[in-house]
């Protein structure tokens, strides 16, 4: 059954038509042309589809689009402001925190949330709380280095 709904994505109201079965991930990718968020399993097991929902990280493949009406969705496309990369994005480039780049949007959204959650106190903590985001290219040590750096810069600037 089709529904007409509106999502607030990256600070913009985005009306869309979809099926009641449509996940947030498929709505973003197939309806709203926001293909930065990736599908790696569609089963809640890889983290590639991570987005922020009201500031908290969620797996968009496990969320129904219809249930997200009226809530604030932030995707990888909404992270850079005025053409300036978010510090986590810049750190991922500097530390080579990816190879194929497919897990990267999910890793970065997770990292942004993790820093907000205050879970980047040590390498062990970063590793543990980033373990929901698989990277088959095995960029993990570089991902940890990128997050560690942003965490340190953040705490220094406070």
């Amino acid at each position: 059954m089709d529904i007409v709904s509106t999502l607030r994505v990256n600070r913009t109201e985005r009306p869309f038509t979809a099926d009641t079965r449509t996940t947030l991930l498929d709505a973003l990718r197939e309806q709203l042309d926001l293909t930065g968020t990736k599908k790696g399993c569609d089963q809640g097991a890889c983290g590639a589809c991570t987005v922020l929902l009201d500031g908290k990280r969620v797996l968009s493949c496990l969320s129904l689009a219809a249930q997200c009406e009226g809530r604030e969705v932030t995707t990888i496309e909404g992270l850079a402001r005025d053409g300036k990369l978010h510090p986590v994005q810049a750190a991922f480039i500097r530390h080579d925190g990816f190879q194929c780049g497919y897990c990267t949007p999910g890793q970065i959204m997770s990292a942004v949330a993790l820093l907000k959650e205050g879970r980047a106190g040590s390498d062990e903590e970063i590793r543990e709380f980033m373990s929901g985001n698989l990277c088959r290219c095995g960029a993990y040590p570089n991902i940890v280095a990128a997050i560690r750096e942003v965490a340190r810069l953040g705490s220094e600037s406070q």
Binding site: C100, S131, C137
Partner: protein, 734 residues
């Protein structure tokens, strides 16, 4: 081209040039592509492993909302078989040929509908009545057909049987490695569109040139009428070397419904549709002197194979090259089973390393010789099979530098002698000799009037860094800034290129870029041949070099002019030149080397619980010239992580009765997560390779080789338990 040939080992660690696109979600992967009017396809797969389809009832599916077509063997047009593939052998059989089922998860129908949800729902309505027969399963199954020396790659030298019979010390053991699944994170996708008789396909492939040839052959259209596009790919690890049946089905569906069609494999389908690492067993016999000199090696490698598919597998391929042993015999066997076709998975052939390097470790305890010393006593100074000098080999340096960084001398030789509280500590190491190839490759390089250079080839970047290293090389060879170079790859319309596979692409493409850059400088000099206004008039290629966007005399850099000035004066927008490499090892007077490495691992095992932790791994790698140190390190780290997965986690489990893969999800098939990864140290040693035009050897696979043996050897050192099967699981350690 002085810089490339200079004895410089480490290329600048510049950031990935495609980084900004990837961190903003703007890099377009095949599954991101859409078109107006695009419709979605979903596969129906067989639920038996062997037998025939008695009947298909697609009426309900066809009547479901939004459905445009249900294509089965009953209504599909006959498709030609794909072509013979260089490197890999015959193409996978074309789909929907007849009613026979050869494995669980075989594609038996493809459903096309307006939306993904509609196609998914309709696919469940396709009813299939099977006539089931008993599947042939299990690598040891006596009923399975066995192919002997299927690829003619067995090695013979001396008389291994006689030398074994008379050896002072004889070793004879068997090894087993579970099947594994490549599982690139990017779900493989095909978006196909026909414009009349022209086919455009956005495809998850590591080899656009071959994908184009395959689709052209299967659909019987000229190659020029097929375009395969893959500017970005979410990993491949070998899964994207073939043009698999699902891609052909998508193109077929697009033709039949006359709309652009998108198919994205599900994660479970990634286990059945795009190959996997074959399950393998090995029998390895060594003969040695008491002083630790190998006198004989006999190595039999057996791997699983699909019922009618082909897959070039050669577990023992490096065995003959690894050590200076006078008598060697290697044997390849493939066992035909009702399983999805295996294919290459990062480092095919590296399975043999696990056996050889475990066996040498065992021998070291038998003989009371340090494992590292034992390897040095059998060091192959020249290529042992041909007797030719290596084009480069710094394995000795890998051993020395790796051991030093690791602190190998701290190892006490007795089993279980290095405890830390409740933890048993073990040190293990392995040597690595691996193949690498340069393959024929072409490229076109041009310079425009604005001073920018453009590099175009049908190569791919699957995460390996092709965009970046091609940019760096072209900038270096043409005397430009990195920011002035644009690399366009991932398009089969561009100059033909080999796959991102076999650790070959960077060296092959790099060699072609070097050739093209030389030709381009020649083209500029040709333009100036009659130009009295140019200080370079009448100069030859050897007289000049390039720097800072200008061509100048080697002897006097003040004499020269910029590319832009030359093009402007001659009213040219652009000057282009082609380049290629066509490597010929015959007659080169040397044995082309692949990469070498030494791996050192420290493990910790909880004495009571059997918990195994890898504490750290040091990798010392000779891969010739390193084009970009930062990316190269990432490659080795990433492959080491995959090696940890292969050693401790990964196992594709085929249900022995039904042939169904029992763990085809990321929840059940475990790959390493961030918290699984220990401290990984990587160091590059050696020098530029003499056979490689740019001095580099392959890097994509060597990082996974030797990880398993180093860990298993460390486990033995800690516990006295010799594990000869992978993955190493907790029950083996209790």
């Amino acid at each position: 081209m002085t810089v490339v040939t200079a004895n410089k080992l480490l290329g600048d660690p510049v950031d990935r040039v495609d980084g900004p696109l990837k961190v903003t979600g703007a890099a377009p992967y095949p599954s991101d592509v859409t078109y107006p009017g695009l419709v979605h396809a979903v596969l129906v797969q067989s639920t038996i492993a062997a037998g025939t389809i008695r009947s298909i009832d697609a009426a309900d599916a066809e009547a479901a909302p939004g459905v445009l077509a249900v294509i089965t063997h009953e209504n599909a047009p006959a498709l030609a078989e794909g072509p013979m593939t260089p490197l890999l052998g015959p193409a996978p059989p074309s789909p929907l040929k007849d009613n026979r089922i050869l494995h669980h998860g075989q594609h038996v129908a493809i459903v096309v509908a307006e939306t993904l949800e509609q196609a998914t729902a309709a696919a469940r309505l396709v009813r299939i009545d099977y006539e089931e027969t008993a599947p042939v399963l299990g690598i040891d199954n006596p009923e399975a057909a066995v192919l002997r020396n299927p690829w003619g790659l067995e090695t013979q030298r001396g008389d291994a049987a006689a030398a074994l019979a008379s050896a002072e010390v004889v070793y004879d053991e068997t090894f087993a490695i579970a099947a594994g699944t490549n599982n690139p994170l990017g779900l493989f996708a095909t978006v196909a569109r026909w414009e009349g008789d022209r086919l455009i396909v956005h495809e998850s492939t590591q080899w656009p040139t071959m994908a184009r040839q395959t689709l052209a052959t299967v659909f019987n259209v000229p190659e020029n009428d097929v375009q395969v596009l893959v500017p970005y790919l979410g990993g491949g690890f070998g899964a994207g070397l073939r043009t698999w049946p699902h891609a052909i089905l998508t193109a077929l569906a697009a033709r039949l419904v006359d709309r652009p069609v998108k198919l994205v494999l599900t994660r479970p389908q990634m286990f059945t549709s795009v190959g996997h690492r074959a399950e393998t067993t090995q029998r390895l016999r060594l003969g040695a002197t008491r002083a630790g000199r190998l006198v004989a090696i006999d190595h039999v490698g057996t791997s699983t194979l699909g019922a009618e598919a082909a897959n070039m597998e050669f577990i023992s391929i490096e065995t003959g090259a690894a050590y200076a042993c006078p008598n060697v015999a290697t044997h390849d066997r493939q066992v035909r089973l009702n399983i999805p076709s295996p294919g290459w998975m990062r480092g095919p052939g590296s399975e043999g390393n696990f056996a050889i390097e475990s066996a040498l470790d065992e021998l070291s305890y038998t003989l009371g010789i340090d494992p590292l010393e034992l390897r040095l006593r059998n060091y192959a100074e020249v290529h042992p099979q041909s007797g030719l000098p290596w084009s480069s080999k710094a394995l000795r340096e890998c051993y020395r530098v790796g051991a030093e960084r690791f602190g190998w001398t701290r190892r006490t030789p007795e089993i279980g002698s290095m405890r830390e509280g409740n933890w048993l500590v073990g040190y293990g190491m392995a040597g690595v000799t691996f193949g690498g190839a340069q393959l024929p490759c072409q490229v076109r390089v041009s310079i425009r009037r604005d001073g920018s250079a453009h590099v175009r080839s049908a190569a791919t970047d699957i995460g390996t860094g092709t965009y970046t290293v091609a940019t760096q090389l072209a900038a270096e060879l043409l005397g430009l800034d990195i920011g002035q170079v644009r690399v366009e790859i991932g398009d089969s319309d561009l100059a033909p290129a080999p796959p991102s596979g076999g650790s070959s692409l960077a060296t092959s493409l790099g060699g072609a870029i070097r050739d093209a850059a030389g030709n381009l400088l020649r083209a500029f000099l040709n333009v100036l041949a009659e130009d009295h206004r140019s200080p370079l008039q009448g100069r030859r290629r050897d007289d000049v070099t390039a720097a800072d966007g200008r061509i100048h005399l080697v002897d006097d850099p003040s004499v020269g002019e910029t590319y832009s000035d030359i093009l402007a004066r001659h009213e040219l927008d652009e000057l282009a030149a082609d380049g290629e490499i066509n490597p010929q090892a015959d007659g080169a007077g040397m044995a082309p080397s692949g990469p070498f490495a030494a791996r050192f691992a420290e493990v910790r095992i909880d004495a009571e619980l059997g918990l195994l932790r890898v504490a750290r791994i040091v990798s010392a790698v000779d891969a010739g010239r390193i084009l970009n140190e930062k990316l190269a390190r990432s490659q080795i780290i990433g492959a080491t992580v995959m090696g940890i997965g292969m050693t401790m986690l990964e196992e594709t489990i085929f249900d022995p009765g039904s042939g169904r893969i029992a763990n085809a999800t990321f929840g059940d098939y475990l790959i390493p997560v961030n918290a699984d990864v220990p401290d990984l140290d990587v160091v590059f040693v050696g020098e530029p390779d003499r056979f490689s035009p740019i001095g580099s050897k392959g890097l994509g696979e060597v990082g996974i080789v030797g990880v398993s043996a180093a860990i298993a050897n460390a486990v033995y050192h800690a516990t006295g338990r010799r594990i000869r099967s992978l993955p190493i699981t907790i029950d083996q350690l209790l």
